[in-house]
Symmetry: D2
Subunit: 331 residues, 4 copies
């Protein structure tokens, strides 16, 4: 299912080298003011261009096709599309017989019987995250009292980007996200714990291979007496925040803190070995095309987006956000 | 929502000190032979009793109440319950006014307006994992060609259990799970990526605070040329398995490998500070009751269970498992 | 899927001649006072005993097994079970080879490969509606400002129950339901129109074969100028109510009015012809066992129950009902 | 939720006088050959132009924007849009203060706080059924061994279309649908009975106010001995088909037979009374714009579409349709 959310529901669609990519948002409260300018900042943060990111430049202009009328959301489904213009499909001709290591070429071929659109990764492309970022912009506006900030806190370990570029290689990274002013009471004791729902959304972002909350994997080395966050006052504020803002699957009002690990871009120019289905043996592959050296540089804004989407959905579920933003006066 | 799964759907219910806990399983294929003995091994692995686990001993006998007839699943919902017998509720009287650090006492109180059953953690109790393990037993039988093995690979860092016991403290741990002989093609490109669905299920287990796949957080320190797993043959077998068996959100046929971090049991006998709503200030709390020193010891079988549940659901979705296990001959 | 609802979620389970039948209710707001006495009236209305209903008498006592604490709902899943005591399974031995006309014997056998519990209809039995009625009782308490009244408005056409009894036959009927004081704004323009959601729930009741809203099938004979309900005032009140309280899939605040048709009980004592799988030809079947002559007599309370369940779910979705009924004072 | 389906999932979007309307289809099996020509016949059947249908003529050309590659479905979400060109929005200026009887003007205003796009009915418009028909075309191709035929069997009772036109009025109708060669075993015993799922889909079509299966409401007048369909042979074939092809919520292999009632178009040119929010009293309304006299004329193809969508979804669920239509040979 390429959909997410129970009340505020997101579906993404499109292919890297097809006509367009985009997002369909169902269940957005009516009455939210939305203009195309609202999307600019986050789309720019996601956009390629910085050192370490791909040379493919799209203008990434969002086209608002439904669900918005006179500048406000109407309560009907919102379709936002992004046209694909700058595609070079000839770079991707032989992914079926010669799948790239670290990519979905092999799994897509097997799952879809060879019918998948392989051009530029097709539906698996990181370009699909445009729709996530666009939905995130709307979600952020809906929950504007919440502050969500994600940033790259580690890239490539001791390796730097310059050496990766020189070696035609790529590097991974770690992104940390902190969200403040969260409602108490979001999430369920079991299957829809806050961690369950957030990680579900986060792992929809290509290249994420791990997530940890609060003190995360370091928790394994702590005593309970260290890890337990002492409550200070009646609002639930704690001295430390090793829990990352969640107890028993439910937000406790302290900052939500989590980190994700982003793998190195699997597309690298350096020569690699992989299996060739035509010759039936391993052979050397030299990938052409344009690639990010460190895709993690572009991930923070996507992490913020899915966090905002999750918070919006759970706040609607818990009646912490209204179904209509405000009543318009006389018409 | 205390349910999980699209086709093979699990709902858990019950409270630690209520009448019972259990699980309702909807969508189980008909024709699977099930007896109470099938549950013994995994329930024993989960059961308390070993050093470091709670002194509360329940007989944990599963009662099969519906959906099974003449020793076979019928296709109708399966209800499995576990009676609660050995409860000492007087130990848990003041959690509303004096919430325990690291527990859900505060969040449950806030979310449910003070109506939650607080005795022994109520619906938040680790005892609810009995239902997960029971559903996991059925799932494992359904997908019996898949091998799923989870084990504790780290406990308490350099701290050992004996010192934790002596100090009336608790320790965390890391559990690794490896599943072999997985079908290729499980999972979706985006919102229902295999990692999304599995992590959703895994974070329903109390005390889990992180998950990583394959090389996990170490991936941040790797070059793409290191992390990319080279394909060897037409089955998709790879030289390394840094991806943990998943590319583009879809299983690739290599072993599924993931690790989770388990926090130290928040209940410790050691004195702690927390906020007292009655006196409106921080005060010392000494928790009575019976607790695990290292809950991580009991987690592996639960991790296996949710992994089996996820695999069953996705295999049914992809038509890799039949809706009826076999046709009974003449009746 | 044997579940219904997005927020207030109902799952039913059990078999007619198994250990028990019951319902699991997830997402019920915390803080609702519930006692076993609350269920008495509606369970009696559903219960057998009146002329035209089955001789099988169960005490139908609801057992509240989870999700209720100190007399209030806790917000955790509520399990309610009904023990089966008065079963005579020997009456139902040969349904696999000799399926009863009008019953699910054949379809169940085919769908479940012959593994279904056939005793007394198994999971297909009307006895499963006990769980619906129990959930309906809770729903009615949650939305106690709404009045829901269903009654039998036609039974057997010109046939009467006495002649049906004399002829070892059965008759059908029509049940009308009127719900007043409905919130405006429940339902969605398309796939979750109010009619969609309500009919989905209603057709889960065995023996229902049709539903119509407002002027229903008579609408086909009306001019638009007759059928259009004129608005009178700013609350949306209309002169007529041919729409049955719904426009564009959304409740308009006028009474919800709908009718359902209930088929005659398929189990009749009169001799019938059906296919015998053992002899491979049509043969005469004489059904033993205890049956309702007019199952429609017991349907009104079940119709009220599912209506209350639907309204509760949609009111929670639209924030017309709180997630916690009230905050308890000092504890 | 403007989505439908568990495996083959349909979401519709758009507004009558906005940029476009369309449908997003998720979960379509890969490998189905699709071209724009496939849509022509059904779109023409739905299209306006015949006597009794609206004067608004759109070219209704489907634009396939994603999920199709080299003429085959890829397994990724399929977006199909229809541009709106021939709109006259000035006809619809005052629906907020002066809601049309029988329309969603009042309910939409209340539900969405006055933010809904009211032009031409906005998201409530019958134009949205274009997306249903398009999805139905794909569904029909997927289940091409099933024959689905819907037709208008009654229109306006004794009233005829000419008199309705003369009187600036509109008439309703009854549409019957028969689907043959249905798989046995589709549907669930309770909440997802075949009738539940189909009626859920059918009531998403604007103007439908009732549905009945098999002998439908006439069943109320039948004895059980009349209504019970006798089985003839081992395939489940029955002498009569009063059940409409469904027993116990599950298809029995006999033809699926159901009828729906379609209300008269609420938009009529004849003068009507309704409430004027500006003057706070009932006043006469004369509706301008272009309207169908008998919308039921255009409904059969939409009924076929949703029937095909339901069958596709349930057949995928029951593994009666493959996830990939065929494996492409060497690439």
């Amino acid at each position: 299912m390429n959909s997410f959310g129970r009340i505020f529901k997101i579906s993404i669609y499109g292919e890297s080298h097809g006509n367009q990519v985009g997002v369909l948002i169902d269940g957005c409260p009516a009455g939210l003011a939305i203009s195309e300018d609202d999307f600019t900042e986050d789309l720019l943060r996601r956009k390629s261009g910085a050192k370490g990111t791909t040379l493919r430049i799209e203008d990434d202009k969002p086209i608002l096709l439904s669900g918005i009328f006179n500048g406000y959301t109407t309560g009907a489904p919102i379709l936002i599309s992004f046209q694909n213009k700058n595609t070079k499909s000839e770079d991707y001709n032989d992914l079926f017989s010669f799948p790239r290591p670290g990519h979905a070429d092999f799994t897509a071929k097997m799952k879809y019987g060879g019918f998948n659109d392989y051009r530029g990764g097709g539906h698996f492309s990181g370009r699909l995250t445009l729709g996530l970022v666009a939905a995130g912009v709307i979600a952020k506006k809906l929950i504007n009292s919440v502050s969500i900030k994600a940033k790259l806190v580690e890239a490539g370990g001791e390796k730097d980007i310059d050496s990766a570029i020189k070696n035609e290689d790529s590097i991974g990274g770690i992104v940390e996200c902190i969200a403040e002013n969260i409602s108490v009471g979001l999430g369920e004791p079991f299957f829809d714990s806050f961690e369950s729902v957030l990680s579900h959304a986060v792992f929809s972002i290509p290249a994420i291979k791990g997530i940890e909350f609060g003190s995360g994997f370091q928790t394994a080395k702590m005593f309970g007496s260290e890890h337990n966050d002492q409550l200070i006052d009646a609002t639930g504020k704690t001295v430390t925040n090793f829990a990352g803002g969640i107890n028993g699957g439910i937000t406790n009002g302290n900052p939500l803190v989590f980190r994700v690990v982003v793998k190195p871009t699997p597309s690298i120019s350096k020569t690699q070995n992989t299996f060739n289905f035509k010759t039936d043996k391993q052979e050397e592959l030299k990938i052409k095309g344009r690639h990010d050296v460190c895709i993690a540089l572009r991930v923070p804004v996507v992490i913020e987006a899915v966090t905002a989407i999750v918070l919006t959905d759970l706040m609607l579920l818990e009646h912490k956000l209204p179904r209509v933003i405000s009543n318009k006066s006389a018409r």
